[in-house]
Symmetry: C2
Subunit: 271 residues, 2 copies
């Protein structure tokens, strides 16, 4: 059984397995140690930790190196967040996915909002990209989980009352084009989530967060996979800011009392 | 005024300026934004975030790339934690310092405990390394702050009752060899800190932490600089573990409520 097989097998209707998004080797090892069977990268978390804004601003060599560091730090399968594929042709997107696969990823997300053009990728173009990626994986005999994301809800695109319907239309097309799973971030009401899960033939990924139902509720709604985006990374940055304020305003080190011991952290990397 | 000039000027007897140790571009930007006039890297934090244990296990190209990412993310001077210099000759240590300087660091620490040999570097050898680094900086006309660290107290080396005395002997020798400052981590009682500060002619760096006096007390004791090692990084990893436990055991996302907003974090890198 390969890592990719293990990753595919986690996806089942209503499995609602939690796929935490990590940003560096240390966060990856902590989540792995706590028993998560697979990890994803967060494009924002990875970019921010390396000095870039999210939105395909990262120097791509840094992106693939970041993915590789995470893959090599853990023994569980890792899915890569590749934003909209860093390119606006099927060939360019295939090249991006190939480099992520070479870095060790067993799957990747592909978004349908082009951050450079600032608009949705036309549905047929996005389907072509998905078909091209799946055809390439098939040609080289590699299982690679393509998670096709629709950004209509997340980015508030078009009339609010038709967003779920238009998202379903796109996700169905992406599934028909060969996507192994689909992802609709931003959706946080259970009836809509249930409706989407019932309308799509492949596993549905929902973004869990401060305003969403719990994992148990998402499971009952038929969700296959729950990821968290960059929220864990951004929560740690809020803590970094609190630490900075304590040091600056109080000149004390109370924060250090709750730190993991150095020997324990180094032990994560001595195997 | 260069970044190096600004960094040197922060060091004055009793200044007790806080030099936070960061581990990636995001932590660097947060501390810079909170007003700190200079930053240091944490060798452990940087190594752990990239998938290595501390103790010169890191692939050195990753070390210098990590330093460069931090330097390029901020406008304040950055001092590099170079452990014991990644080499056991003056030439090897000079090469290490040159690469850190090329990555943009304005200064660096050098430890007197060899993590490969597992013992203290003989005092005269360590002085030779310090002299070689300062001579090279002088030869190329570069100001570079060499912070010579003594590891006797931190690593519990030799009889407890003579550790402070033996540390002072070494730190005095390092200062005489040209070190711009000295660093005695592990010392946490004020009388000893005061004694060391009074005995050394160059600025004294103390490691602040859960068991040390406050910055105000260190200032009264004559300390010039207060760093924090990897404690802030390890505190965030304790939070990552708590987040992992909430996701695993509760299936909820309460942690995400306190995350910094994505737009704010990305804004740190859009300048």
């Amino acid at each position: 059984v390969t890592l990719a097989d293990r990753f595919f097998d986690l996806h089942a209707r209503g499995a609602a397995f939690v796929l935490p998004n990590v940003w560096d080797a240390a966060s990856a090892r902590i989540f792995e140690q706590q028993g998560f069977p697979a990890l994803a990268t967060s494009s924002a978390g990875l970019a921010n930790s390396l000095g870039y804004a999210d939105g395909e601003h990262i120097y791509v060599d840094e992106l693939y190196a970041g993915i590789a560091r995470i893959v090599h730090a853990v023994h569980v399968p890792v899915s890569a967040d590749l934003e909209a594929g860093f390119g606006n042709s099927p060939d360019a997107v295939v090249a991006t996915f190939e480099r992520a696969a070479a870095a060790g990823a067993v799957g990747a997300n592909i978004e349908d909002f082009d951050p450079v053009a600032g608009q949705l990728v036309p549905i047929e173009e996005q389907c072509e990209r998905i078909r091209a990626v799946k055809a390439r994986a098939h040609a080289i005999g590699m299982r690679f989980f393509v998670n096709a994301r629709c950004d209509i809800v997340l980015n508030d695109i078009g009339p609010a009352e038709t967003r779920v319907e238009r998202s379903i239309e796109r996700l169905q097309a992406f599934a028909a084009a060969g996507a192994d799973g689909v992802f609709l971030p931003g959706l946080d009401d259970l009836p809509s989530i249930e409706r989407v899960a019932a309308a799509i033939a492949v596993p549905l990924n929902i973004l869990g967060g401060a305003t969403t139902p719990s994992v148990a509720e998402l499971k009952r709604a038929g969700v296959a996979r729950v990821s968290i985006g960059s929220s864990a990374m951004r929560r740690t940055l809020a803590l970094v800011r609190d630490i900075a304020k304590e040091l600056r305003d109080e000149g004390t080190f109370a924060f250090a009392r709750d730190a993991l011991p150095a020997a324990e952290v180094n032990g994560l990397f001595l195997r």
